[in-house]
Amino acid sequence: MLDFIMKLFRGSDNSKDQAKERLRLVLVHDRASLSPGLLESLRGDLIEVLSKYMEIDEPGLEVDFDRSEDAVALVANIPVKRVKREND
């Protein structure tokens, strides 16, 4: 009960809760990152797989993380030169 009244007066902006929330967000970002070496090797692997299906503009291929407020996505921009036909 006393806790409840205290909360009413202070709101829920305990600095501890702020610390936890900020830490959570910052770690979402930190944890979703690859070293430059790994990112380069991911690029290479992507090119290898995609080349089975299409001709891509290799130097134009971009892979990176897109970080929004509380989520992280891997975004690839892959310029295609020509899609292979069935019996290419």
């Binding site: 305990n14 501890k16 809760d17 610390a19 900020r22 910052v26 770690l27 930190d30 944890r31």
Partner: protein
């Protein structure tokens, strides 16, 4: 065959050197043969915390570069015959010791000592990678602050990449009064975030500063609370199950006990 334990952190100044000195002294008190290695090259500190600064002749870099024999560089503690320090070089570059040299040194030390405890440099650069080479286990020290916990998270990843698995956590400088007021993350918050097992919690306490002024690790002071906390960690490193000190409110203690499967009060 001994075990090499590295004491690490992402952020500097969180208590690695204090931890190394106290755990080493505590383990030596319990009759283990201990070698402490100061791997924080260029920022030699462990000698001062142990009160051994006047006895240094050779250092870690002298040993790996073959300028002296290992025996000549090891400094015997004032209090315990089974405790030795291998001091850091003060004038060399951070990466004066290679990972291969460090691993070889650990191998040699492990044939002579029960535990080798390595005081690592903070951060994630080459000096850190050199220091953890050849380690069997790692302890990560953090304070209950956002920046320190964030940097600890990086260290967990780097240890894994270096194939040092299952690190354990020490939360240092906890302030129970601030936790009660809701102005400091509690033990459980930090464990939830880092998801590694806890090996100890050390309160923020003036006696730590007094003891480093004197060069006498606080673990030897029977009446000090951080001293008790370090003695508990020592016993956990020896493989014993020791209940956690009641530094916080009962509720957190209860959650901790259930988390670690430790029964009611002993």
């Amino acid at each position: 065959m001994g075990e090499a334990i590295v004491i690490t952190s992402g952020k500097g100044g969180v208590g690695k050197t204090t931890t190394t000195a106290n755990l080493g002294t505590g383990l030596a008190h319990n009759k283990h043969k201990i070698c402490l290695v100061d791997a924080d090259i260029g920022l030699r500190n462990l000698d001062v915390v142990l009160g051994l600064e006047n006895r240094i002749v050779y250092d870690l870099v002298d040993v790996v570069e073959g300028r002296c024999r290992l025996r000549q560089a090891l400094i015997k503690d004032k209090r315990y015959d089974s405790l030795f320090l291998l001091p850091a070089a003060q004038t060399k570059e951070k990466d004066a010791v290679s990972p291969e040299q460090m691993a070889e040194l650990m191998g040699t030390l492990k044939s002579e000592f029960d535990f080798i405890i390595v005081d690592c440099p903070a951060g994630i650069e080459q000096g850190f990678k050199n220091a953890i080479s050849g380690a069997d286990r790692a302890v990560i020290v953090t304070t209950p602050e956002v920046s320190a916990v964030r940097d600890a998270d990086r260290i967990i990843g780097l240890l894994e990449a270096a194939e040092v698995y299952d690190p354990q956590l020490i939360i240092n400088r906890l302030r129970p009064d601030m936790v009660r007021r809701g102005d400091m993350m509690d033990i459980q918050d930090i464990i939830d975030i880092l998801a590694i097992p806890l090996v100890g919690v050390v309160p923020d306490d003036e006696s730590i500063i007094v003891s480093s002024n004197r060069g006498e690790p606080v673990v030897l002071d029977q009446r000090s609370r951080p001293g008790q906390a370090y003695r508990n960690i020592v016993r956990r490193l020896e493989g014993l199950e020791v209940p956690f000190m009641d530094l916080e409110q009962k509720t957190v203690m209860h959650r901790l006990r259930t988390l670690f499967g430790i029964g009611g009060k002993r």
